[in-house]
Symmetry: C2
Subunit: 329 residues, 2 copies
Amino acid sequence: MVTVAIDAMGGDFGPKPIISGLLEAFKEREFKAILVGNKNEILSLLPQGIKDKVSIVEANDVISMSDSATDAFKRKNSSIYKAVELVRNKEAQAVVSAGHSGATMSLATLRIGRLKNVSRPAIATLMPTKTGKSLVLDVGANVDCKPEHLFQFGVMGEAYAQTLLKVKEPRVGLLSNGEEASKGNELTKEAYQLLQHLPSFIGNVEGNNIFDASTDVIVCDGFVGNLVLKTSEGVADTISHFIKGYIRKSPIAIAGSLLMKKVFRKLKKEIDYAEYGGAPLIGINGCAIIGHGKSNSKAVKNAIFQAIDYVNAGVNIKIESRLEEISAL
Amino acid sequence: MVTVAIDAMGGDFGPKPIISGLLEAFKEREFKAILVGNKNEILSLLPQGIKDKVSIVEANDVISMSDSATDAFKRKNSSIYKAVELVRNKEAQAVVSAGHSGATMSLATLRIGRLKNVSRPAIATLMPTKTGKSLVLDVGANVDCKPEHLFQFGVMGEAYAQTLLKVKEPRVGLLSNGEEASKGNELTKEAYQLLQHLPSFIGNVEGNNIFDASTDVIVCDGFVGNLVLKTSEGVADTISHFIKGYIRKSPIAIAGSLLMKKVFRKLKKEIDYAEYGGAPLIGINGCAIIGHGKSNSKAVKNAIFQAIDYVNAGVNIKIESRLEEISAL
């Protein structure tokens, strides 16, 4: 059974949504959890019946969003530090945190370590497409990348899509400013050459291809990936703002919107980050799921499920063997 | 009166929407036009009454979307080449083309020339925000940029916002992966230092700030700008795809959507590129408006209006004097 270490103190709303999410997760799946944080606070939120599936590791420091990620290494009493150590020491197979993502990333990369032949772990995120999901990586771990990093992201994304998204032959695309091979900046043009060694590589793809179900894995550096993510959120937000504003001004439209309630609910579900849980840091020798700071209990539940699935799917073995295979060529 | 040179042959649908757009434009504004392209084809589409406001320049070659931009300089008989030459020779003050955008950009930059102290002209595009419009530049002219280019984009965007968007004190932001000054990639971190000399600079902004009315001018390199643009189109497209799909499945939702028809029409107008016309190439010693290849007559009409407004607003003088001012510091 998978054991998940959970940073109980990380996230903008403290331990409450995290423990609620954990309790919801227990209703649906079998796993063990280690909650890391302030013992008294955790115990006050934990019902009696659940205590055999959960152990608590005391940690009295919390890295807050305004702290620097580099401080994380010194603050060995922080909940995220101790949660990561549990994976390092093989007491847990995965760590979930909705806290300081930079700290989680740095600690997970350096304390748990990288997979063989992986230079830079990447944060991967699922995006809704017209018919399913696509995976975009990196979305923030590495702002400045070398071509070989993008190549490795392609391999890691391919492995994730095969094992977790169950796409037998994932289509891996390189995010660029045009489909033609001649398009791109200095970085992507060189990465294009490397990615051509990957049979699943379909060439350059554009921003709209993230959502049109033409591509399963979209490769980019973390600077670009973060912008794409935030831009998408911004567009969805603004469209919903416009729709709400127009509706308010017309009784007829209000009536219409009531009849369309289900439609809007479905749409919201489709683009709600909480449905996705969190973003895995792919490429470390373990599993770390990075949650949104604003994670509600549903997001925490889904992040825990992501962690369990990640461990069970054997992504890491796949990545190592694939990189081995390719480096042998 | 402003004279606009129009590439009558550029665009995916040939001269028809271009000439329709021109005729629509004449109904609303006073200007002169020079249509460049196949004379017989143009004449067959032009009504009698209009001919005193329009002259025709014969050009029997068309640069198609699949041609290379570098060929554009050799094909002196092409409609876009001749249209650009009209601005170079001061027979027109602006050129509008919905044809090969790379060719238009290169020709306009090199044949018309750059403004003093501008190293790289940039394509700027308007985006809808919750309360108005924001300007993003560069969205495709320069995939690889140096910090000083981004700085100049900031100055050019500021001038555009002041003169054309009538924003007295535009807020200029640098697109980055976080608001803190420490965020960014190598390029933007250096550009940040330079942009601090601009009193209108508000620091780093994120992808969602393009739409939330917090920023008037968003500065980025052309690779990132193109991705942001295409991603936005993709998200809007996918949301409309989801809504349509859900509606189709439910008679109640169909009824609701009929009542909400006006809402959807307004939304469509808000995000329809045709409302914006085209994207100016800012920084050249003249005016070039680059239209979407799929421009319909409304987009062509609005592109012509953009050209007239650009010339009348005196953007170029503003850019030159601002750069002069700053370089003197």
